[in-house]
Symmetry: C2
Subunit: 124 residues, 2 copies
């Protein structure tokens, strides 16, 4: 089963929230992403059933190894593109919004090439 763009996004959010506040429940994701409770509930059910997250009896969510791999990949891309766009003069909010879309669609090859370039050039 190929992971979908929306699933990648949820996993990334779980990682971001857990770094920020230490624990993650569905309601935190609702507030973070501004999706409805049912939307998040159904997404968490799918992630759980496919082995990307664990949910304890009190509703606290943790990433599995498999989920963490994806979350970290997306988070790295997100940070890189946000910073890149801002350093090119884009407004922080727009940069974040664009990064949030771009991060999911680029091939590994293209991402690696961009990363290499901006690292070598010392752009960010």
């Amino acid at each position: 089963m190929k992971i979908q763009e929306s699933a990648e996004n949820y996993l990334e959010s779980i990682l971001m929230i857990s770094e920020r506040k230490g624990e993650v429940r569905s309601i935190d994701i609702v507030n973070e992403l501004e999706f409805s409770k049912p939307s998040v509930s159904i997404a968490m059910k799918n992630l759980r059933e496919n082995g990307y997250i664990l949910v304890d009896k009190d509703g606290y969510i943790t990433l599995t190894e498999k989920g963490m791999v994806i979350a970290e990949k997306m988070y790295e891309r997100h940070k890189l593109f946000s910073r890149l766009f801002v350093s090119l003069g884009v407004d922080a909010k727009t940069a974040a919004k664009d990064a949030c879309r771009v991060e999911h669609i680029l091939s590994d090859e293209t991402f690696a090439a961009i990363k290499k370039y901006i690292t070598e050039q010392g752009i960010i």
Copy 2:
């Protein structure tokens, strides 16, 4: 009505085909994008009904002013990103595929910033 990503893609293809072979019918788009005939037929119906294209009695398609504006915007972005990715060392096919996705999702602001940078740096 906000134009959708898929509509932008069809308009861009119409422009590319018309530059390449002078005339465009639905079947040319089928061959170009490798979608099914019904998918293209329905898409053309929507573009026609929303004033982005004209279709004559023999099925030949032309862009309206409104359609051309979008087609050219996407085509410019496509060319810029393809060339950029290739110049960073990405395989041409992958570069084209990634450009084809990125071109639709970036804000005007971010695209302008990228364009400015790569022009100033003489990258492509």
